[in-house]
């Protein structure tokens, strides 16, 4: 059957390889995969790709519609805003402010949430109870309210918005990882590993981690998509990034009074947010499907 096989041996693909194969065959998941890679590259090199600089104004070209409309101009592909700034350049520049900062906040939250969640998962009694109560308190404050508290203390700024989003993601992550670790530790194969003489650290690393990978991945992408929405919402409400910044939420909020005259100034940043969140969710769903199939 396998013609390129010289010896009569049968290769069984490793779980990771098998998972990748399923993932590779899933069209939607691959759209999400390439899309998120594109977003990553754009947030690193977006400002280099942009045809104009962030705040370059073109007198006489204010409020041009996108180039495919009758009044458009092809040198401003997605049109211009009320100050004559190229919207395409601003959107490319804003990728770092929106997607990049959301990614930073989520990565930091995932790192600390992992530590807290694993620690709360393996401890018992008082220590576990104290951790859980603190997580519950933080979890009960709505994310926007927490952001308002942060901004009330240290003022509105993109960095502070990242801090606020990190603070809202942390208890969520910690909570999810805690319950995943806790559920796995109850299972019988962990007892078997423990009877083989494994230490707690080994149990966590070799037995528990591979089995909660699906939960981790789903939680991470979900948190990332929420972080993008939160950062944009904070920018929109003037509580996050401030005006010359091209953060997508800020762009949208700034163009609010133009919504009737020049709808594209509002439509395009919103569409950018929608598409990036959608891509992240597609990737997450695809990875979860592939990991679950790979484990089975």
């Amino acid at each position: 059957m396998l013609l390129d096989n010289v010896y009569r041996e049968k290769k069984i693909p490793s779980p990771l390889r098998y998972t990748w194969r399923i993932f590779y065959g899933d069209a939607l998941a691959m759209v999400g995969f390439y899309g998120v890679i594109a977003l990553l590259l754009l947030s690193l090199f977006g400002s280099l790709l942009a045809p104009y600089t962030l705040n370059q104004q073109f007198l006489g070209y204010q409020l041009l519609p996108p180039s495919w409309s009758h009044h458009g101009n092809v040198s401003f592909f997605l049109g211009t805003d009320d100050l004559g700034r190229d919207i395409l350049s601003r959107l490319l520049d804003g990728t770092a402010a929106t997607f990049g900062s959301a990614l930073i906040a989520t990565l930091a939250a995932a790192f600390f949430g992992m530590i807290i969640g694993v620690f709360a998962g393996v401890t018992h009694g008082l220590r576990s109870a104290v951790l859980n109560h603190i997580l519950d308190t933080l979890l009960s404050i709505p994310s926007l309210l927490l952001a308002i508290v942060v901004v009330a203390f240290i003022g509105p700024k993109l960095e502070h918005a990242i801090l606020a989003v990190w603070l809202t993601q942390l208890p969520r992550m910690g909570r999810t990882i805690y319950s995943a670790v806790h559920d796995e530790l109850e299972k019988e194969y962990v007892v078997a590993v423990r009877l083989d003489g494994a230490s707690t650290r080994q149990i966590l690393w070799y037995a528990v981690m591979p089995n909660i990978a699906a939960v981790l991945v789903t939680e991470f992408t979900r948190a990332l998509s929420m972080a993008i929405l939160d950062i944009a919402a904070l920018g929109f409400l003037d509580l996050g990034a401030q005006l010359p910044s091209a953060e997508w939420g800020v762009m949208l909020g700034d163009a609010l009074e133009l919504v009737y005259v020049a709808p594209w100034t509002v439509m395009l940043p919103g569409a950018a947010i929608l598409i990036s969140v959608l891509l992240v969710n597609l990737l997450g769903d695809g990875m979860r499907r592939a990991i679950n199939a790979g484990v089975e």
């Binding site: 519950d136 979890l139 926007l144 308002i148 203390f153 509002v266 929608l274 969710n281």
Partner: protein, 321 residues
């Protein structure tokens, strides 16, 4: 059950205590803090005692008592949230069950795709799209506020619909209609994201329950598919998601704050954000306390409700280990 409830209430009190610390530090450590200058313990004691008397101090912007302002904005937000939440339950639960039962078929694909898109839309953008289409383009619905400005509605309960209903003006029915028309767009914008979450949770839960042995047992007894879904799936799939729905409420309040800003709805969120811009720290501190107390209480109620309605809670009695 009673012990469970008591333990949860104790937990609630501890959490509330932590929250008073957060809220207190907002009116003590911030730049223009109202309690600044006093010794910390005295200030905390003063803050705590006035909190127990429902006294949040005075707004530093217009000198109005914060508790008065809260009485105006709180019902406005609650009516928006409750109606949107009910709507999302009514749409989300049936759709979630259909998607869970029809797993892998086209019905599931369609519902899941809509849920994914609905979850990904930023709520402020969705609100703007709705305004652009229904208000500016079609001219069907009003853009902002709670009533048409022509009507003088006396605030009695603070809930727009009830106030209009209770007023003795000759234009009562027009006022109710106006309140309704003003509500449609904010509620539609607010309900989308929670609906997708309900669909997602319900779909997973239904799928879980369908694989259980008691469903196979019910099928062997010859019950029809519809009966199984109505009598067994629904009863077992709903309770585990109730606490998660309670957690959704906190998300809902965030969305409500943003929606209120877009529609100029005179609610808690808009009030808080404006207070934030004006650096009115007494108001922020009170708002933090009220909103998080509300969220915690609702989560507690959801957990108790879930524990009380779970059919398996009696398993220990029927089948002792």
């Amino acid at each position: 059950m009673i012990i469970f409830t008591l333990r949860r209430i104790l937990l609630l009190l501890i959490t509330l205590f932590f929250l008073t610390l957060v809220s207190f530090s907002l009116s003590y450590f911030t730049p223009h803090a109202p309690l600044k200058g006093a010794a910390m313990l005295d200030a905390y004691q003063f803050y705590f005692v006035s909190l127990l008397h429902w006294d949040f101090g005075v707004s530093s912007i217009n000198g109005q008592a914060i508790s008065e302002q809260l009485r105006e904005v709180f019902p406005a937000t609650m009516s928006l949230c409750l109606l949107a939440f009910t709507l999302s339950l009514f749409i989300g639960i049936p759709l979630g069950i259909i998607a869970g039962v029809m797993r892998g078929k086209w019905q599931d694909t369609v519902i899941s795709t809509f849920a994914l898109v609905g979850f990904s839309i930023p709520v402020f953008w969705l609100a703007l799209l709705l305004i652009l289409f229904f208000s500016l383009h079609l001219n069907w619905l009003p853009i902002s506020g709670r009533f048409n400005l022509l009507y003088q509605v006396q605030p009695i309960t603070g809930f727009a619909l009830l106030d209009a209903w209770l007023s003795d003006s000759p234009y009562r029915s027009e006022m109710v209609a106006s309140a309704l028309r003003h509500m449609i767009l904010p509620i539609a914008a607010l309900a989308v994201a929670p609906t997708t979450e309900v669909v997602r949770l319900m779909r997973i839960s239904t799928d879980d329950v369908l694989n259980k042995n008691y469903i196979k047992a019910a099928a062997t007894r010859g019950l029809s598919r519809l009966t199984i879904i109505r009598r067994h799936v629904l009863h077992n799939a709903l309770p585990p998601i109730i606490p998660k729905l309670g957690l959704q409420f906190s998300n809902m309040l965030t969305l409500a704050m943003i929606t209120e800003m877009v529609f100029s709805w005179p609610g808690l969120g808009r009030w808080l954000i404006i207070a934030m811009r004006q650096q009115d720290y007494a108001a922020i501190s009170a708002g933090v306390m009220v909103v998080s107390t509300l969220v915690i209480t609702i989560n507690l109620l959801a957990e108790i409700l879930s524990a009380a309605t779970k059919p398996l809670k009696n398993k220990a009695w029927y089948a002792p280990r």
